[in-house]
């Protein structure tokens, strides 16, 4: 059993990655059914090379060598690539090259090979890969097992929780070959050349290692027969070390290709272009306008007329604060006759604390912020993530320079000697909280069932994807399994970046993301979680005070349970003692009944010696007395429920250097840990290295063990000449103001991404941004005070005709409010917006019909950014208005118009109740006069007074509504005054209609 189906063994291969052995299996089956044609076996040069030339050499020539593979000569084919051998003589099933072309996985991006060509390659492999003709076959030999295949792929995956960096059970360290030879208490673990005498082999054979009772707890499995064979074969061959070159620093073999690739526009540093001279100078308020007008001019276009004053006010409010202005703010703005009233409005909004709340949302989208871990059904809450959210809001409000903002988030823990500090200053605390940036992706590893190497590698990959897309606009995640298809990003680049994170995220020495870990044997504590203590007395006291009543309740329940258990405990104790000699029994009884103060030294000794017998655990009682187990179920459930209410101690969800020597980082063939390739050093994508200061690690000189790898990355990334950092951020800011970025693919500045619509403007803005000290607020001011931003959105024919999708910015785009701004605006105009800022996320409530809403506070609801963002329970309103699933992050929200949105706005309780509140506030503010009520509704919802015609129409409808409501209320003999009730409900129905209207939902 087992053995005969070895080909199907897919241990270690996961769909998260690339298939591996798994797909060898079924391809094998497919191949068995291919007819064998032709007796003459094909040769390489005569038959196979022409096929390769036609389909493969574009990427796999001696020159290009994608994935380290060249198919140009027989020798290079046999040498294989970064993932190892691609052909195995006489064995098409094991030949990766054939598997890939057969499945259509190769040629990447090109048309698949025809069946005849595939068949020819297969026959060539079956024949043993002959060269020119069939009569020079290459001898077939099983490739020897390499050290890395045993150390990294087998022992590394199964043994290190107990024989690794943190623990060396029995003195044994299995991280290196030297450790194996040195062995532990029982002697060397292996005897080279003699697998049968090797302790390691003996213990594995007996299935003692990894110990079955610990496997679940440490998320490891026993060895498969394949893996065991590998270990034995390697030892049998003398356990040879890998003849490994020391890893190259820097770009390695990509360097030649890179110099050409660096010519691509986005890999060149931005240079400040000359501001174009254009006609129509009266419409140029700043250089932004000059660049745009120059391009518009070539199409015979100019800017559209300026927007109406209040339309612009509403636009600025929703853009910067995410909320519409109040009627009072509207009035005072209209009364402001200063010619710079608008500029001052922009300044006021930038100074408003709402600015940070609005723009933090975009940053949180970009970093994939969530208040839960995801991946596992319990979707554990992240009770400490809010500190990072608050950090972002505060940083934006303080206009923290963007370079500093990035440095803190990537390497805040490496900026000061945090372990040597007794208590943190607020700034120091911020530095640690900031590192939550790289802790935001989904992380399932808090479940022992999903804490295997592949899941850990997924976590790292997610962080690399977030980091590279949000800061550099690179789709580097593609390079995890293979060199990037279209961009000059190699697997080496990916793994060099993962080596930078290695000292914090080491898949071979993993920390749980959460205290709430689950699964058999799960045991999270301060030493094995990726959390830092928050040494703040105030908060700690608050939590303790909050917890006190629940703790009392738990203690009481425990007492009840113990009361029930006591007689049984006694009974069981007697049973257990019955096996001891009579004399001893009496002494033990006396000893155990004495209080600790009364005990004599002899009694103490006895109690220690027989501790196990004397201690009767709850588990023992439960097992023995099923009645008790049944009876105590309810109390135990109560205890569990109460425990759930306890708040965790205040902590920081941080990323920090774990100190010590991390395990070496290897290129993983196909992204699988079962295919370890060459070692790499920490480094950055080679193609970006052209004119920049190279990535250089300097170990900080202080007591906290930290390598400085991330700090070096942060410094490299924030160089003024970095080709991507400033461009990518400037582009996203532009996108959030105008709906579309100058580069319309904000997460892809590579060759498959869009080209900038205005390259000069993008570079000018990037330079201006950097030279002006990376100030985001200055950037907003620059953009928002331009003529371009102040255009009307109802443009005339020429703009629509020649610039239909508004890529030339010949008008301001009409834009729907995004999900958060919509919800917040509804709450604000109805007076239900609780202005409380910061702090733990608001909890959710799930209605019986499945609608997810936030729990209401006495003051209403807080802004959406403060509502718990749980991956498995998105707020219904936000979800239907395109709030993104953050898997892992989102740089540009999708935008759809679907009927479920209409259902939400028309029928949801939130909007209906808000309308009633809104009506109530209107009546409170202006009394019973319908015309003043209508005016107020228009100001609140639409930021403008109604025209006379609109007012008349609305008043007419309001009269009719009042009549209908009155009629409705009078159906039964009313107990309360009807007239005022009907007027209120009528106004509520009217407000509801306005909250549903396009003009409310869209920004002009």
């Amino acid at each position: 059993m087992g053995r005969e189906h070895r080909v199907l063994n897919f241990q270690g291969s996961f769909y998260g990655l690339g298939g591996g052995r798994l797909f060898l299996a079924w391809i094998g089956i497919v191949l068995l059914y291919l007819p064998v044609r032709g007796a003459q076996s094909p040769g390489f040069e005569t038959d196979v090379l022409p096929i390769f030339q036609q389909h493969c050499l574009q990427c796999h020539s001696d020159q290009a060598r994608q994935g380290g593979l060249s198919l140009e000569t027989l020798e290079s084919v046999l040498a294989g690539g970064d993932s190892g051998a691609v052909v195995v003589a006489h064995n098409p099933l094991e030949s990766r090259l054939l598997v890939l072309i057969n499945s259509g996985g190769m040629p990447m991006g090109g048309p698949p090979l025809e069946a005849a060509a595939i068949d020819l390659v297969r026959r060539w492999i079956e024949a043993g890969m002959p060269g020119k003709t069939a009569d020079t076959p290459v001898p077939a030999a099983a490739p020897p097992v390499r050290e890395r295949e045993v150390m990294a792929a087998v022992l590394g995956a199964k043994c290190l929780p107990c024989h690794g960096r943190r623990r060396q059970e029995a003195g044994l360290d299995l991280r290196t070959r030297e450790g194996l030879l040195k062995g532990g208490k029982s002697g060397p673990a292996i005897v080279p050349g003699r697998p049968e005498e090797s302790l390691l082999v003996k213990r594995i054979r007996a299935q003692e290692m990894p110990p079955p009772q610990l496997q679940e707890q440490f998320s490891v499995r026993g060895l498969t027969s394949d893996e065991f064979d590998k270990v034995q074969a390697w030892i049998a061959a003398g356990a040879p070390p890998d003849p490994e070159k020391p890893p190259e620093a820097g770009p390695g073999r990509d360097s030649t290709a890179a110099s050409m690739d660096r010519q691509f526009w986005s890999f060149q540093p931005p240079r400040r272009p000359v501001e174009p001279g254009v006609r129509g100078k009266d419409r140029i308020r700043n250089p932004v306008d000059a660049f745009l007008l120059a391009r518009l001019g070539t199409e015979g276009l100019g800017f559209s007329p300026p927007a109406d004053r209040l339309a612009l006010m509403r636009r600025a409010y929703l853009d910067l604060a995410g909320l519409p202005p109040s009627p009072e703010e509207i009035r005072s703005y209209l009364a402001d006759s200063d010619p710079r009233a608008y500029e001052r409005l922009v300044d006021r909004l930038l100074e408003s604390p709402h600015y940070g709340e609005r723009w933090a949302r975009y940053w949180l989208d970009a970093v994939g912020y969530a208040d839960s871990e995801g991946g596992v059904s319990s979707d554990e809450i992240r009770p400490h993530a809010f500190r990072y959210r608050d950090y972002v809001i505060r940083s934006l409000n303080a206009d923290k320079p963007y370079d500093r903002f990035l440095i803190e988030q990537i390497a805040g823990d490496e900026l000061f000697d945090y372990k040597a500090v007794e208590s943190y200053s607020p700034d120091q605390l911020d530095l640690l909280v900031a590192t939550g940036f790289l802790r935001m992706g989904p992380d399932s590893t808090y479940s022992t069932e999903q804490n295997n190497l592949p899941e850990r590698l997924d976590v790292v990959a997610t962080q690399i994807e977030i980091l590279s897309s949000s800061t550099m606009g690179l789709t580097l995640a593609c390079a995890r399994c293979h060199d990037h298809k279209f961009d000059p990003l190699s697997q080496r680049d990916y793994y060099q970046l993962s080596a930078i994170l290695r000292t914090a995220y080491d898949p071979y020495d993993w920390l749980s993301p959460s205290m709430g870990c689950i699964g058999v044997g799960a045991n999270c504590n301060e030493t094995n979680t990726r959390l830092l203590p928050l040494p703040s007395d105030g908060e700690l006291r608050e939590v303790e005070e909050y917890n006190a009543p629940f703790k009392r309740k738990i203690a009481e329940l425990e007492r009840q349970l113990e009361e029930k258990a006591r007689p049984l405990r006694k009974q069981l104790l007697e049973e257990k003692m019955a096996v001891l000699p009579e004399s001893l029994r009496q002494d033990l009884k006396e000893a155990s009944q004495a209080t600790p103060e009364e005990r004599t030294p002899v009694q103490e000794y006895l109690l220690g010696k027989f501790a196990e017998t004397l201690e009767v655990t709850r588990a023992e009682i439960l097992q023995k007395f099923t009645d008790f187990a049944e009876a105590s179920k309810e109390i135990e459930q109560q205890i569990k429920d109460e425990k759930k209410k306890l708040k965790d101690k205040p902590r920081i969800r941080a990323l920090f250097d774990m100190g010590g020597r991390p395990t070496p980082t290897r290129i993983l063939g196909r992204g699988e840990y079962t295919n370890p390739g060459d070692q790499v050093l920490p480094g950055v994508p080679a193609v970006l290295n052209g004119e920049l200061m190279p990535y250089r690690v300097e170990k900080p000189e202080w007591s906290t063990e930290t390598t400085g790898r991330r700090l070096a990355l942060a410094k490299w990334l924030t160089q003024p000449d970095h080709p991507l950092t400033a461009r990518v951020m400037v582009n996203r800011i532009w996108q959030h103001h105008f709906g579309v970025g100058l580069v319309s693919t904000p997460g892809n500045f590579g060759s498959t991404g869009a080209r900038p619509s205005h390259p000069g403007l993008l570079d000018w803005l990037a330079r201006e941004f950097v030279d002006g000290g990376w100030s985001l607020k200055s950037l907003h001011r620059l953009i928002m005070t331009s003529t371009a931003y102040r255009q009307t959105s109802s443009a005339g024919g020429l703009s629509l005709e020649r610039d239909p999708d508004n890529r030339l910015v010949s008008r301001f785009p009409l834009r729907r409010l995004d999900a958060d701004a919509l919800r917040d605006s509804i709450l604000k105009v109805s007076g239900r917006l609780d202005p409380t800022r910061y702090g733990p996320a608001d909890e959710l409530e799930i209605k019986p019909d499945g609608e997810v809403i936030a729990k209401e506070s006495p003051d209403g609801y807080r802004r959406s950014i403060y509502v718990r963002q749980r991956r498995s329970q998105p707020l219904s309103l936000l979800e239907s208005f395109d709030a993104p699933l953050l898997v892992p992050n989102c740089l540009k929200r999708p935008h759809s118009t679907v009927s479920s949105q209409a259902l939400q706005l028309e029928n949801s309780e939130l909007v209906r109740l808000s309308a009633r509140h809104m009506a109530g506030r209107v009546i409170d503010a202006v009394g019973e006069d319908p015309s003043r009520q209508i005016e107020r509704v228009y100001l609140l919802a639409l930021t403008r007074p109604p025209t006379a015609e609109e007012s008349a129409k609305a008043q007419e409808v309001l009269r009719q509504l009042t009549r209908e409501w009155k009629r409705h209320l009078e159906v039964e003999v009313p107990a309360e005054p009807v007239a005022s009730q009907a007027e209120w409900l009528a106004l509520a129905s009217l407000c509801h209609t306005f909250l549903n209207s396009a003009e409310f939902l869209y920004v002009n």
């Binding site: 769909y15 005709e801 999708p894």
Partner: protein
Amino acid sequence: MKSKQRQAVPGSCPAPIDRRTFFSQVGDGLQGAALATLLGADLLGPDALLAASSRQVYDLQRQQPHFEPRATSVIQLFMNGGPSQVDLLDPKPALEKFAGQPPSRDLASEIRAVREAGGLMPSPFKFSKRGESGIEVSEVMPHLAEQVDDITVIRSMFTPHIAHESSLFVMHSGRMFPGRPSLGAWVVYGLGTENRNLPAYVVLDDPKGLPINDIQNWQAGFLPAVYQGTRVRSEGSPLLNLHPREEWPNPVVKLSRSLLRHLDRNHLSRHPDEAELEARIAGYELAARMQLAASDALDVSGESEATKEMYGLNDELTASYGKRCLMARRLVERGVRLVQIYIEGQIWDNHSALVKNLGYACGKTDRPAAALLKDLKLRGLLDRTLVVWGGEFGRLPIAQQPASGEVGRDHGPSGFSVWLAGGGVKGGTVYGATDDIGYKAADKPVSVHDLHATILHLLGMNHRQLIFEREGRSERLTDEFPARIVQDIIA
């Protein structure tokens, strides 16, 4: 290679259409400014269209498949928890012979609850050959046994992970982690729907609770939200916010709607070229139509007594699942593209008390599922409706002995069974096999990607050509994984 990628310009668009006609056809699900392009073509001529050809429309308009489809609708009976293949559809007499023996090294390396693992355990249930095809079915599925000549059993499925979450993600989206679009989302992205007044992709979840991974099972991932599964409740209001919690008097609703139309038309007149605004107005009209259509489609009260009896609606044990199966028939009858039925908690997750718990799961589902097949066949719907039955994995042939309670079986991802029926699938067929003890797919293994590719194929789509472009990447359901069409099960 012609890819099924949504183009802004439908090649088949015969003649310019006026706006009202256009919107009455489009109805739901417009993506952003995309529509302006389409209208632009009518108003401004083809040049404007070309200039903006990178834009795309995402809606539920019926789309042409790549080739003649065998099935036009799918009903997926999702058996969450992992039904035990060796107790249901994959008899293993060898387990009798080896009863109690310890598992092999390879099997042992896949055990989840290692400390509870026992020896090989034969099935407590009897199998017998049923139907003309003589497929062996367990005694706990007596109703399915009656329909066995209409189904193909695939006995050689496998998935890569032992945890429910990961395997559920794989089963739904092909990958172990959340965030990828589900099969259903891909299907309605590719084909749209036949009935614009109902959601295209309906999820009938169990009123007793959501499955593991809850709503993430039917998410659209990076596909536009319009392709996401719509949860339809079988009790209470079927769609979220289909009706308000408290209805307003009718005249008030009428007045409000007419005022809204007035306001929106006025607004539109100031932005005459914003197609999205018209789409939004159409969305409100569709929402109103949906209120009627959905209520009608989901109302089973008018079904005949015989039908209700057949689905088990009169029996407390089967009533809930039976009702959802019957609703599924009514939905596909009305042109809904894909219906998924989920079941309470994890009733197939029989770690303990196998006999009792598996008996319960079968008792609850066997009769309704078989009735659905019978009913579809009776009404001539089975030919174009593909029915897929199965869970996220199977179970191990060894015993799991929990600390308390009776013996059960642990998760077994390496080999398990699913069945398919209708929609171009052969009847009375068994495909593939596990090894002697039913632990691992041995003969003709079928990966989840193979299954997905085969389902798309039956629906007339080539899995390599159903592509969604995002940020420069061509995304597919089967991704870069090799996937084959399981031709042998296609009639």
